[in-house]
C-alpha cells in the first residue's frame, strides 16, 4: 500500500513536471498506474500504449537493450523510457515537446523507482485481481439487465404490490362465474317447468285423443324428450361445476398445504451451489430461481426441492454434484 502511494507520487510528479496529458508506469507490458487528462480515454489509451511498450521492449535485436523511444508528430509526442527491472515509464505530450527535459525527468523518476521495483509485480497482481472482480460484477450486472431478472427484493416487492390486484381480479372473476351459473340455473329451471306443463297437459288428454293425434305430434314429443335430456345433462354439468373446485382453488389449497422452509436454508443452498460451481454460480442461481419461480423470502418445500434438483443439473462434476445434493438433503 505504501509502495503504491509512493509510485502514485512519483508518477504524479512526472505528470506535472513534463506537462503531459498521460503519464504511466508499465511492468512488462501491463499498466500498473497512470494519470491522464483524457478522462474519456482512460480505458483505450493505456491499452494502446501497452502495445507500443511491448514493441519497444522487443526492439532489442537491432540496437541492443532499449533505453528510450521518442516519437513526435504535429503538436504531440510520445516518450517511452526504460526504468529497468521490466519497468517502462510512458509520457504523452500534447503540445510542443522538450525532448531533453523529458529524458531528464524520466531519468530522475526511474532513480526514485529503483527501490520500489521489487514490489511492483505484487501491486500489479492485486490490481489485476481487483479488475477481474470488477469485471465479474459488471458481467453479473449486464446479465441481470439483459435477462431482466429482478432482484429477490424487487421481485418480492412487486409480488407484494400485485397481491391486492390479483385478489381483486379473483373476486371479480368469482362473482362473474356465480352470476353466470345462477342465470344458467334459472333458465334450466324455467325450461323444466315448461316441459312439465307440457307433459302434464299431455297426460290429461285421453288415450283416444292421443291416438287421434297425428304422427307429427308424437315426433314433437320425441323432440321435446331429447331437449329435456339435453337440459338435464346441462343441469347435471352445472351441479358438477358447483361441486368441483376451480384450478386456482386447487393450487391455492396445495400451496397452503405445502410446508414453508426457512429462507436461510435456501441461502445456504445458494452458497453451497456457488462453492460447487464457482463465481458464475451467482448468475446461474438467479436464472434457476427464476425458472423454478420460487419466492426466496417465503419458500415452500416442494419449490425448494425443485430448486435443488435444477441446481444440481448445472453442476457438471459428478463428485461435486453428489456433495451438493447430500448437503441439501441434510439441510432439509
Amino acid at each position: 500500500m505504501e509502495t503504491l502511494k509512493e509510485i502514485e507520487k512519483i508518477i504524479g510528479n512526472l505528470f506535472l513536471t513534463t506537462n503531459s496529458s498521460f503519464t504511466g508506469l508499465y511492468y512488462e507490458e501491463e499498466v500498473v498506474f497512470f494519470k491522464t487528462i483524457n478522462k474519456e480515454k482512460e480505458k483505450i489509451l493505456p491499452e494502446l500504449i501497452s502495445l507500443l511498450v511491448r514493441k519497444f521492449i522487443k526492439s532489442d535485436d537491432l540496437i541492443g537493450s532499449p533505453e528510450y523511444l521518442f516519437t513526435e508528430g504535429k503538436g504531440y509526442a510520445i516518450f517511452l523510457f526504460n526504468a529497468g527491472d521490466n519497468i517502462t515509464l510512458v509520457t504523452v505530450i500534447e503540445g510542443k515537446p522538450n525532448f531533453s527535459l523529458l529524458r531528464l525527468e524520466h531519468d530522475k523518476a526511474s532513480q526514485l523507482l529503483k527501490g520500489l521495483s521489487k514490489e511492483i509485480p505484487s501491486i500489479l497482481e492485486e490490481k489485476q485481481k481487483e479488475e477481474e472482480r470488477k469485471r465479474q460484477e459488471e458481467l453479473k450486472k449486464d446479465t441481470e439487465e439483459h435477462t431482466e431478472i429482478p432482484s429477490a427484493k424487487t421481485q418480492t416487492k412487486q409480488q407484494k404490490d400485485q397481491i391486492p390486484e390479483k385478489q381483486e381480479e379473483k373476486r371479480t372473476e368469482k362473482q362473474a362465474l356465480k352470476q353466470k351459473e345462477t342465470t344458467e340455473k334459472e333458465e334450466i329451471d324455467e325450461d323444466i317447468k315448461e316441459l312439465e306443463e307440457i307433459f302434464s297437459s299431455t297426460s290429461e288428454e285421453t288415450i283416444d285423443k292421443q291416438e287421434k293425434e297425428s304422427i307429427d305430434t308424437n315426433e314433437k314429443v320425441q323432440e321435446q324428450e331429447e331437449v329435456i335430456e339435453e337440459i338435464l345433462e346441462e343441469k347435471q354439468q352445472v351441479e358438477e361445476r358447483e361441486e368441483t373446485p376451480s384450478l386456482e382453488e386447487i393450487l391455492l389449497s396445495d400451496e397452503a398445504l405445502s410446508e414453508e422452509v426457512n429462507p436461510e436454508i435456501v441461502e445456504n443452498i445458494r452458497l453451497k451451489f456457488i462453492e460447487g460451481i464457482g463465481p458464475v454460480g451467482k448468475i446461474l442461481f438467479k436464472k434457476v430461481v427464476e425458472k423454478v419461480d420460487i419466492n426466496l423470502e417465503k419458500p415452500y418445500r416442494h419449490k425448494v426441492e425443485e430448486l435443488i434438483e435444477k441446481l444440481s443439473e448445472e453442476i457438471t462434476v459428478e463428485s461435486r454434484k453428489e456433495d451438493f445434493l447430500k448437503y441439501c438433503r441434510d439441510l432439509l
Binding site: L45, I63, P66
Partner: protein, 119 residues
C-alpha cells in the same frame, strides 16, 4: 531511380557517421538500403513499420496527425524513422556515441532531397 535513392542514403551515412540507412514503403517493404552486412533490411523495415503503426494508432486516438519522426535508443545505438510525406519512411541506424542533434539535422536535409525526388 533505385540507384539515386541509394546515393542519397550513402551521402547521409558519410556525413553523419550513421551505420546504415533504409528507405521503406508505407506498407513496410524496403525500397532502397545501405546497411552493414550483418543487418537485414527487412528486419529494419519491419521494426519501423510496426512501431510507427502503433504510434499512429495512439496519435489517432488522441485525434492528432501523422507521426513525423520516431527514434529508439538502445544500448548499442539508435534507430531513427522519419516520414517522407505519405510516400515512404527513412530509417537510419546510428551508433550510441553519435551526436544526435547533428544526425537529426542531417536527416531533415535528406528528407527534403528525397521529397523532391519522389515528387
Amino acid at each position: 531511380m533505385a540507384y539515386s535513392f541509394e546515393e542519397v542514403l550513402q551521402e547521409l551515412i558519410r556525413d553523419t557517421g550513421a551505420e546504415g540507412a533504409v528507405l521503406v514503403s508505407p506498407d513496410g517493404l524496403a525500397i532502397a538500403s545501405v546497411l552493414p552486412e550483418n543487418i537485414d533490411e527487412d528486419r529494419v523495415a519491419a521494426m519501423g513499420a510496426a512501431i510507427l503503426s502503433l504510434g499512429e494508432r495512439v496519435a489517432s486516438e488522441l485525434e492528432k496527425g501523422e507521426l513525423e519522426q520516431l527514434y529508439v535508443k538502445g544500448s548499442e545505438g539508435y534507430v531513427i524513422f522519419t516520414g517522407i510525406k505519405d510516400f515512404a519512411v527513412l530509417g537510419v541506424l546510428a551508433p550510441s556515441n553519435i551526436k544526435l542533434g547533428l544526425l537529426l539535422m542531417e536527416i531533415k536535409k535528406v528528407i527534403k532531397k528525397l521529397e523532391q525526388q519522389m515528387g
